[in-house]
């Protein structure tokens, strides 16, 4: 009865006009009440027929089944598989002669390893599932998803009790095996994709062996990371790489900065030297010109000029002297600046 009502509901929703039988139910029921005051025997026959027809219809309806676009139905005759039907609404012989099993063969199914989706966008990690020993005795945390599809619904339904679990376990075991063949560094870096590919291959091979009609579409490694307690140390290695770059860049900056500065300095030193050389030459030229001019005058009257130059110079210079002591032939001292001598320059 349940199946029947479910199906009518489904049927009405999708195929309202295709099931006219049900529309008669209502009106006939009211007919029964309407004719209840008529002849007794005729009425009884009528009631029996009216009860029987819906019962027969309900019974036949146990053979009606609907297959969605992504599904197929496997029809069994007395429990033995006989044929497969595709999407649409179908009829098979009613219970107990035939029965059916519906299998979704299009939808991509998935199993999660190392984590669970609680609801879309929210995940919980399962550490005991995610932690795997690597070939070099380390431990990595691997989260993976295996995507698969039913390729042979007959085998899928009839050969194994819990096909989903089989896929999950097989993938887990393949993942463990492939990870154990590598070092932690390989898994965390270059070999990641290769691991995923190999796991898919191994899983598919095993499932083919078990003959359960499953095609593995993909094994996707999600988060492949060092375990929580060591993640900081692993991050620090990355930081160290950054630091190394930084040290080198800083040094390069220093070098790139230093060389132009020093080149400028060098240029300055050279220019200063050039200036000095020029200055020396110009000074020499000037001085010699002065000398030559005076020499010309001197040549004309040497004695006079010499005396004049001497006196002029002494005039100019001696006042600036602290003390001038003149000694005559008798070694007497002629004091020129007595005050300064006595005062000892204390003034």
């Amino acid at each position: 009865m349940n199946t029947y009502t479910d199906l009518t509901f489904e049927g009405r929703k999708h195929f309202g006009e295709d099931l006219p039988t049900f529309n008669f139910e209502g009106p006939r029921a009211s007919d029964i009440l309407g004719t209840a005051k008529g002849g007794r025997s005729v009425k009884a026959k009528f009631v029996v027929i009216l009860v029987l027809i819906p019962l027969v219809v309900v019974y036949i309806m146990t053979g009606v089944y609907q297959v969605d676009p992504s599904q197929v139905a496997l029809v069994k005759t007395f429990g033995k598989y006989s044929y497969t039907t595709g999407p649409g609404i179908h009829l098979h012989a009613p219970y107990p002669f035939q029965s059916h099993v519906i299998v979704d063969v299009q939808t991509i199914r998935k199993q999660e390893i190392g984590f669970r989706t609680i609801r879309p966008g929210q995940y919980a990690s399962k550490k005991e599932e995610a932690l795997i020993l690597t070939g070099d005795g380390n431990i990595v945390s691997v989260e993976a998803v295996v995507q698969f599809r039913v390729s042979d619904p007959v085998k899928f339904v009839f050969n194994v009790e819990k096909p989903e679990e089989l896929v999950k376990f097989t993938t887990e075991s393949a993942l463990r095996e492939r990870i154990a063949k590598r070092t932690v560094d390989e898994i965390l870096t270059a070999e990641r994709d290769k691991v995923a590919y190999e796991v898919q291959e191994v899983t598919q091979r095993l499932l083919n062996d078990y003959d359960v009609g499953i095609t593995v579409l993909n094994v996707l490694l999600q988060e492949v990371v060092p375990p929580d307690p060591v993640i900081a140390a692993f991050d620090d290695v990355n930081n160290a790489k950054q630091d190394k770059e930084r040290y080198i860049n800083e040094a390069l900056r220093y070098a790139n900065n230093l060389i132009p500065v020093v080149e400028g300095e060098a240029r300055k030193i050279v220019l200063e030297a050039e200036a000095y050389a020029q200055q020396k030459i110009l000074q020499a030229t000037g001085e010699t010109q002065r000398f030559l001019s005076i020499l010309k005058e001197y040549k004309s009257s040497p004695k006079i000029t010499e005396t004049r130059l001497r006196i002029e110079t002494l005039e100019q210079v001696l006042p600036k002297a602290k003390t001038v002591i003149l000694l005559d032939r008798s070694q007497r001292i002629l004091l020129m600046n007595l005050e300064n001598l006595l005062g000892g320059g204390s003034k």
Binding site: G79, K80, S173, A180, V262, I294, T307, V317
Partner: protein
């Protein structure tokens, strides 16, 4: 009244007939074995799906699954050849292949599981105890075949077929795990230190190279400067020499007077009688 009695009798008889028919027929599903028991004794074993008959009220039908089961065997602690402890999480794929034997020996699936548990565990322990830790973790293909074979042989008598035994997980006990984490940490720390040291080394190299370049550039400039200064001084000297050589005596006079300007201020000057240059002073 007679008519009604007949109708009722017919109805009762036909209902009884239908009930009898229903009770004497049974369907065996594609996924099932059926065993017909009469008073607990096995009368018939059916392994093909279809419609079958039995004697109502006397025969009892027991159904067993034909499909493969996956049994997640509880985690087992194993001591390896090199005395390390390993937690092995395995599973077995099995099915009932001889329902008669199965029913005679273990009867139910849960009992079968404990039997499988025992056998696989002893298989795992025996095989893995002869192997070193690393071989268990990295090379499983061979020993798993051995274990599967062992389990298969030992479970045949229960009507159980072991399809495969595989290892889902090999884990370390908590305390060993902690040790591995510590080791991984220290490994990473030394790698990080090495990388940093390399960086510093390279940076130092770049700096020193730059310093060296700077020193060379400065020295070159100095040397160039000295050369330039020298040539300037040489030119100056030549100019002086050329001019002053025209009259040496006069140059000497002029230069001496010039030097007084620098020497005399602020000093004590003692002038002797014989210093003829000062005769004008007397």
């Amino acid at each position: 009244m007679m008519k009604l009695t007949i109708i009722v009798t017919v109805a009762i008889v036909s209902i009884l007939a239908i009930v009898f028919l229903v009770l004497s027929l049974f369907i065996v599903d594609q996924t099932q074995y059926a065993i017909v028991l009469r008073f607990g004794q096995i009368r018939k074993v059916i392994s093909e799906p279809g419609l079958y008959t039995r004697t109502p009220f006397v025969d009892n039908v027991v159904r067993l699954s034909k499909r493969y089961y996956i049994y997640d065997i509880p985690v087992e602690k194993i001591i390896t050849l090199d005395k390390k402890t390993l937690l092995v999480d395995s599973y077995a794929i099995w099915r009932i292949y001889d329902p008669k034997k199965f029913l005679e020996s273990v009867r139910t699936v849960s009992l079968a599981l404990s039997r499988i548990d025992d056998v696989v565990y002893s298989g795992l322990r025996n095989t893995l105890a002869k192997l070193e830790f690393d071989d268990i973790v990295t090379g499983e293909r061979q020993y798993l075949l051995d274990i599967t074979e062992f389990a298969r042989k030992n479970l045949v008598e229960f009507g159980i077929e072991i399809r495969d035994v595989r290892i889902k997980h090999t884990d370390l006990p908590k305390e060993n795990q902690q040790a591995v984490f510590e080791r991984m940490k220290s490994e990473r720390q030394s790698i990080a230190a090495l990388i940093r040291a390399e960086g510093q080394k390279e940076a130092q190299k770049i700096r020193s190279e730059a310093d060296k370049q700077a020193t060379i550039i400065r020295a070159q400039a100095m040397s160039e400067a000295e050369r330039i200064k020298g040539s300037g001084e040489a030119s100056a000297t030549r100019i002086y020499a050329e001019a002053f050589s025209k009259d040496y005596e006069f140059y000497k006079l002029l230069r001496t007077l010039e030097s007084y300007k620098n020497i005399i201020p602020n000093s004590v000057v003692i002038v002797g009688e014989d210093l003829s240059i000062l005769e004008q002073m007397k």
